[in-house]
């Protein structure tokens, strides 16, 4: 017979002002298997935790139920308390009587009290059937793989190299640097690109830990955090790399306009990258007009690509500085010079005499070829007037779009893309450089258009995340995983198809063909358990027997109450 202890939390007033705590404690004492029940103002406070620990020891408890808030924030704390008192932490059961009860029933305290009782009865029924579990550990391959050799990828690789971590950098082209090769000056402070690129390449060259693979693509990937196995195609030759963590820094590219504003038909209509190449060669146009948001912030491609305004401001400044007789007019819808340095560039550019003219989405400029240049006709939204501008070059600021191979990389690594084809991070707010898949990270413009500075900064973040499992040397494998009973398994393969993590395979065993779960890859989501028609697939900590006992407790409780 298990010896179950139940601890009911007031959560200050959060639970206690709605749920009748004392009644619930008395009820808990009456439940089968319960040898001790108590309450705390805050079970999670140091005082609360030490009283739980003391009670476990004094009453020789072997199962613990805490009825309080949410496992999401507090389960680790209570599990640890159990461990400190000498019980396996998987013999702990959490019952949520705050989010699931007091907070949503503040106006019905009596009903809330009854509901809390039922929830606890269910938790106690399950607790009696809990089994101790052991977490396993896997060694981590002390190597990282970085996909993409642009600003972000170089930042990751040079950081990992500086941290003395074996790193493979995979670049699909024959040259490192990505878009940095097309940009000779970086905004907003107009710094030369070459010293930056040289500095990053120097770190890679001088570090014996970095292996650069140019003309190389990822062709296959399997495994899990700490133990990935990647296959790459390097200049036509296939080879395998084992890695503990992977960083995706595959970049993005400039959208090439499809005929808008005479691109491709009128000479002198170019993109910002074309202008970058011209300026790098010292070709500075006398008259320029820029049009911003070409192909972005419009139906079909709704997003703002973040970097194009600042790139345009930078190039306007370069022209104005290089050629005092030049004129630059920027046609825009909003100027996105966020922050301190970019806003300063916007001010400085205006002071240099660069003209800004606002157009509206519904009324784009009309462009035609002249004998001595290009005529741009646009309605100035501020003045409400049509204006004609003669220019030598018309520069179209188009958005960054995702790389053509993003879909392939995403498929191989089993990580998601957003609707625009950029990689989708685990949480847009708090996990910006992580994927939901452990051990795989994302940075730079492959995630979202980013400035060089932002790409480097994100590269450092990804380098930290990629280094952590390698420095720890071990990854803990969650014990709440699925397992298949070979006596019941018909090897139908439903579970294999249902598993979102490719953690299950059908193997030959001494009991015939059967499903086998790779515990390191299993996330314990339970999808396979639901898909199994033979009750062969079970999840530790959530077995059919345990869940059945919870339902029985609920039904019994309800029947006893009904008149």
């Amino acid at each position: 017979m298990p010896r179950i202890g139940v601890f009911i939390c007031h959560c200050g007033h959060n639970i206690a002002s709605t749920v009748g705590i004392e009644k619930v404690v008395e009820y808990a004492k009456s439940l089968p298997g319960v040898v001790y029940a108590d309450h705390n103002i805050y079970s999670c406070s140091e005082e609360g935790l030490s009283s739980i620990r003391r009670s476990i020891e004094e009453n020789k408890l072997d199962r613990v139920v805490v009825a309080a808030c949410t496992p999401r924030t507090h389960e680790p704390l209570f599990r640890r308390t159990c461990e400190l008192a000498g019980i396996n932490k998987y013999l702990f059961e959490f019952v949520n009587i705050r989010e699931h009860c007091s907070w949503i029933h503040t106006k019905e305290p009596d009903m809330a009290t009854e509901k809390a009782k039922r929830l606890i009865a269910m938790g106690v029924a399950k607790a009696g059937l809990l089994e101790p579990q052991t977490e396993s550990e896997a060694e981590v391959v002390p190597t990282a793989v970085v996909i993409g050799g642009g600003a972000a990828g170089l930042a990751v690789a040079s950081s990992l190299a500086a941290q003395d971590i074996e790193t493979h950098l995979i670049e699909k082209s024959s040259r490192l640097g990505g878009m940095l090769n097309d940009i000779s000056v970086i905004g907003p402070e107009l710094e030369e690109t070459k010293p930056l690129l040289d500095a990053m390449l120097r770190v890679l060259k001088t570090s014996p830990k970095v292996h650069v693979h140019t003309d190389t693509r990822l062709t296959a990937a399997k495994g899990f955090v700490g133990n990935f196995e990647l296959t790459i195609d390097e200049k036509g030759e296939s080879r395998n790399i084992k890695a503990g963590s992977i960083v995706v820094a595959a970049g993005a590219k400039e959208l090439v306009p499809t005929g808008e504003y005479g691109y491709g038909s009128i000479p002198g209509v170019i993109t910002q990258l074309d202008l970058e190449r011209m300026l790098a060669k010292g070709e500075v146009p006398k008259r320029s007009v820029f049009i911003l948001c070409v192909g972005s912030r419009q139906p079909g491609r709704e997003y703002c690509s973040r970097v194009c305004c600042n790139v345009s401001l930078k190039n306007a400044m370069r022209i104005a500085e290089a050629r005092p007789d030049s004129t630059v007019t920027i046609l825009h819808r909003d100027i996105m010079s966020y922050g301190t340095a970019s806003e300063k560039l916007y001010r400085d550019v205006s002071e240099k005499g660069v003209q800004f003219l606002r157009y509206s989405l519904g009324n784009p400029a009309k462009v035609r070829s002249l004998d001595n240049g290009i005529m741009v006709e646009v309605n100035d939204e501020t003045l409400g007037e049509d204006i004609g501008l003669q220019t030598d070059v018309l520069v179209l600021a188009t958005p960054m779009v995702s790389m053509e191979d993003a879909t392939e990389i995403a498929k191989l690594l089993k990580v998601p893309l957003d609707k625009h084809g950029f990689f989708l991070e685990a949480h847009v707010k708090l996990r910006p450089v992580e994927f939901a898949t452990d051990g795989v990270f994302i940075c730079g413009s492959a995630r979202w258009p980013a400035s060089v500075r932002e790409s480097i900064s994100q590269g450092l973040a990804a380098a930290a995340k990629a280094a952590i499992p390698i420095k720890k040397g071990k990854v803990v494998i969650e014990a709440i995983t699925a397992w298949s009973d070979p006596d019941k398994c018909a090897a139908c393969g439903n579970c294999v198809a249902a598993c979102p993590y490719e953690a299950i395979e059908i193997v030959d065993s001494d009991k015939g063909r059967t499903a086998k779960v790779n515990e390191a890859q299993c996330k314990g989501c339970g999808t396979c358990v639901a898909a199994c028609p033979n009750d062969a697939m079970q999840q530790k900590g959530f077995t059919t027997r345990q869940l059945g006992a919870m339902i029985d407790a609920l039904v019994k409780n309800a029947l006893e109450e009904s008149p």
């Binding site: 200050g12 909003d334 966020y338 932002e454 450092l460 930290a464």
Partner: protein, 432 residues
């Protein structure tokens, strides 16, 4: 001996930097000026562009941070001095007297209930009171009370002592003194975040003179279910539900007479608050007065589009000239110029006006910069001169992340904060 790092500032940037440094094996000393970690993010109701509940996603990080084996929290503490240089900084941390033994305090709140002194709550942006003995907010970490010595009757006048009488844990200690600890650290991280500019400096916007003019951070608190009005939208003058609201962007920012830079996040949070207002009061009309709508992040432009199309938010490109009370002390009149050559001066009435003030480097950053001997840039954020080392200050071993370096949103702050661990590891591997 463990390799130690001192992180200054317990907001989301400092918390994330601490977590990653701690995961990498460093012993982190996280120093926070106020009684709890959490920072500005703790005050927010929801976060853009997903409208995730701010506290719900932050609170687990706060708990993980405080509970991490490698993190030592120094809350209600300040940096008193820093000597030495990389990789041997000697950091003096002053742990201010809380007048509460935090080993004993259980955070039960009995003392708070009985304390007779009311003080405007910093966390509630002055919209509600706290007591002289207080938890700054219900989810505070650590969950330990603090006595505000400036307002406590026992400490200022020598009479009262109620909290000590009711405390069953015996945690109250009126004789407690400040405590200074010294930490030998390899690196020091500045993550001091931002404050709001005092918008009363710009009297044309009516803060302090019109009752129904509030700041955006005050509105966050009003919208919050755990805030001073329980999440019910009411205007300050008469407690009624406003039906017409307006936001003014760039109050004191992008303004050569106040702060020249762009605060980076106001366009988006005003859009978020506008959507939330609709959820609270379905028939509320919302107007946003703006200069440029800067929606540059992932999903931001779509968010603005949604506000406009699905929630009827009216975006007006104008910078209001001045604001006056409408009827006695109720409501506001906003005068602005419409666009174009044919533009004219218009005065429009609103029930309530929300100002989005410039977000400025946290008070005390100037002093801290002197203590750390690092340079600030011309806008008084921490100077980060190298493109290749975007989170390095002007002094080796002193790094910066989040808003202390430049205005940025939460994901950019979190990203920079994670980068800190990599940069510290690099520095130490190179010769620390």
């Amino acid at each position: 001996m463990p390799e130690r790092v001192v992180v200054i500032g317990g907001g989301i940037a400092g918390i994330q930097a601490s977590l990653d440094l701690a995961d990498m094996g460093y012993e982190v000393h996280l120093v926070e000026r106020t009684p709890s970690i959490g920072g500005r993010m703790a005050q927010l109701d929801k976060t853009f562009p997903t409208n995730d509940c701010s506290m719900c996603i932050l609170s687990p990080k706060m708990i993980m941070c405080a509970g991490h084996d490698n993190v030592r929290l120094h809350t209600y503490s300040e940096i008193k001095g820093v000597s030495g240089r990389f990789p041997n900084f000697k950091v003096k941390i002053k742990e201010k007297a809380r007048y509460v033994n935090i080993g004993r305090c259980t955070g039960c709140g009995d003392c708070i209930a009985k304390c007779p002194v009311k003080v405007p709550s910093e966390f509630e942006e002055g919209l509600a009171n706290r007591k002289a003995i207080y938890l700054p907010f219900p989810q505070a970490v650590p969950r330990k009370v603090t006595i505000d010595a400036d307002h406590c009757r026992m400490i200022t006048q020598g009479k009262c002592g109620v909290c000590k009488k009711v405390c069953q844990a015996g945690a109250i200690d009126y004789e407690q003194k400040d405590n200074t600890v010294e930490v030998l650290a390899k690196a020091v991280i500045v993550a001091t975040g931002f404050d709001l500019m005092d918008a009363r400096r710009l009297p044309q916007f009516g803060l302090g003179t019109c009752k129904d003019v509030v700041t955006s951070l005050q509105l966050e608190r009003v919208l919050s279910a755990s805030g001073p009005t329980g999440g019910h939208l009411v205007r300050p003058s008469d407690g009624t539900e406003p039906k017409r609201l307006a936001f003014v962007q760039c109050v004191g920012s992008r303004d050569t007479k106040a702060y020249r830079y762009c605060s980076s996040v106001c366009c988006m949070y005003a859009t978020k608050e506008s959507i939330l207002l609709r959820e609270h009061v379905p028939d509320v009309d919302t107007t946003i007065f703006y200069m440029d709508m800067r929606a540059t992040g992932k999903g931001f432009q779509e968010f603005v589009h949604r506000a406009e199309k699905s929630h009827g938010v009216r975006y007006v490109r104008a910078r209001p000239a001045y604001v006056q009370p409408a009827h006695g002390d109720k409501g506001v009149l906003v005068t602005y110029e419409t666009g174009g050559l044919a533009g004219e001066q218009v005065t429009e009435e609103f029930d309530m006006l929300v100002l989005c003030p410039a977000l400025i480097p946290s008070q005390g950053l100037k002093h801290l910069a002197k203590t750390l001997r690092i340079e600030l840039d011309e806008e008084e954020f921490v100077k980060t001169p190298s493109m290749f080392r975007p989170i390095d200050s002007t002094r080796k071993g002193i790094l910066v992340c989040g808003f202390a370096g430049e205005p940025m949103d939460i994901p950019d702050s979190v990203s920079q904060a994670s980068g800190i661990a990599a940069r510290v590891a690099e520095l130490i591997a190179e010769g620390g």
